[in-house]
C-alpha cells in the first residue's frame, strides 16, 4: 500500500498530539466513571442532609428524681408531657411505661377513677401494669429501661424498650426494685 497521495508518511508522526481511538475511549471511561462517582457522592450527601445532627427534642435519657419522690400505688404523670412516660410504683418497685398506644401510636390517658389507661384515638384500654384488655391494641404498653444513677436518682433510658409479649418484663433493667 502506498501512502495517501499528498500526505507524506512523516506528517502523521509530526502530529503526536492527535488522540488515538484507544486513548479517547479510556479518557471517556475515566471521565464517565468520575462523573458517576461524583453524582453518587452528591446523592449520598443529599440524603444525609435530610438527617439532622442536632434534634430540638427532649433527650432520650433523663433523671426523674429520687425513688422516694414516687408514692406506692400511684401512676405518676409529671413526665408525660415532656418525655412521654408514665412512672408507676407498686409494692415491688417502679417501672416506666411508654405513653404510646400499641395500636396506632396515640398517647393514652391515665384514668385514676377507672384504674386504667385509655387511648382517646380508638379506645384501647390497658391495666395499670400496661397489659391491654380492651379495644384494638394488639399488645401491652412497652416499658423503658430504668436504673439508679450514681447520685441515687432514677435514670430513665428511652433507647431501650422492653416488650411484655417477648418476655422482656422479667429483665432486671425493666424494673427498679425499691
Amino acid at each position: 500500500m502506498a501512502a495517501a497521495p499528498g500526505k507524506p508518511a512523516s506528517a502523521q508522526a509530526a502530529t503526536p498530539s492527535v488522540m488515538t481511538r484507544r486513548g479517547f475511549l479510556s479518557t471517556l471511561g475515566v471521565a464517565w466513571t468520575a462523573f458517576a462517582a461524583a453524582c453518587a457522592a452528591g446523592a449520598v450527601a443529599t440524603t444525609r442532609f435530610m438527617f439532622p445532627n442536632v434534634l430540638f427534642e427532649p433527650p432520650q435519657q433523663f433523671k426523674a428524681g429520687l425513688p422516694a419522690d414516687f408514692q406506692t400505688g400511684t401512676v405518676d404523670q409529671r413526665y408525660k408531657e415532656s418525655f412521654g412516660v408514665f412512672i408507676v410504683r407498686d409494692e415491688q418497685g417502679i417501672y416506666v411505661l411508654r405513653a404510646v398506644c400499641t395500636h396506632l401510636g396515640c398517647t393514652p390517658n391515665w384514668l385514676e377513677a377507672e384504674n386504667k389507661f385509655k387511648c382517646p384515638c380508638h379506645g384501647s384500654g390497658f391495666y395499670r401494669s400496661g397489659i391491654n384488655y380492651e379495644g384494638p391494641a394488639p399488645r401491652p404498653l412497652e416499658r423503658y429501661r430504668i436504673v439508679l444513677a450514681d447520685d441515687g436518682q432514677i435514670l430513665i433510658d428511652k433507647t431501650k424498650i422492653f416488650a411484655q409479649e417477648k418476655g422482656e418484663w422479667s429483665s432486671p433493667d425493666s424494673f427498679l426494685k425499691v
Binding site: M50, F51, F56, E57, G105, T159
Partner: protein, 261 residues
Amino acid sequence: MAVLKKLWDYTRNTQLWNSIFRHGPPDTARNRGLVVLTNVFLHLHPVKVRRSGIRLRFTWCMGGITFFLFLVEVATGLLLMFYYHPTVEYAYVDIVDLREQVPLGVMRELHRWGAHAMVITVWLHMLRVFMTGSYKPPREFNWNVGVLLLVLTLLLSFTGYLLPWDQLAMWAVTVGSNMARATPLLGHEGPGSSLLKIGDISLINAGNDARFALLGGRFVGAGALLRFYVLHCVGIPVVAIILMAVHFWRVRKDGGISGPV
C-alpha cells in the same frame, strides 16, 4: 359593529399580534390545527378529539375535572401561603386567622373541599378508565403514570392534613407516619431491619430510619411540620405537574381519548 370589525382587523395586522400568533384566523381546518400545535400549553392536547371523546356518558370528564381541581388547589394554596407560617407557634392561629379575620375567609375551605373533591374525582377517573378498558395497549404506560399521579394526590392530601396543626392533624399524621416504621430494611420495626447491625449495635433505629427522615425527628414536631409544608407546597406539586404533562401528552400520542368499542 363596523368599528369593532375594523379594530379587530387592525389588531390582527400589528407586528405585536403577528409576533405571538404565527397563523391566520382559525377559520380553516389547517389553521385550527395550528392554533393547537403552535401553543405550548394547548399542544399537550390532541389536535382532533373524537366525537366520543367529549361524550360525557363515556368520559364523565373526570380527568378534566381533576385537572381543574388541581388548578383550584394551586390558586387557593398560593393565596393561603401569604398568611400561613409553618411553625409550631403560629400554624394553628394562622389557620384560625384565615377563617375568622382574613377577607374572603372561604379561601381555606375552598382549598380543603377542593382537595377532598380531587381525591374523589381522581378515583372516579380511574374507575372510568378501568371500566372502559382504556388502560389496554397502547395506553398501558399512561395507566402507570396515572397510578403515580393517584399516589401523589393522596400524598398531597396527607401532607396538607398536618398543616392546620390541631389535634386531628397531629394524631392523624402520627398514626399515618407510623406506617413508615414498617418499611422493609429502612424502618426500625420493618422486616429485615434487624439484619442491619454491626455486632450488637443496630444500624436502623428510631433515630435514623425512614420515618425519621420523613418527620425530621422521632415524633411529629416542628421538624415534621416544616418538612410536610415544603413537600406539600413545592416538592409533590412539582413532581405532579411534570407527570401531568407526560400524562396529557401521552393521551395524544396514544391515539387520543379511547372510544367506545
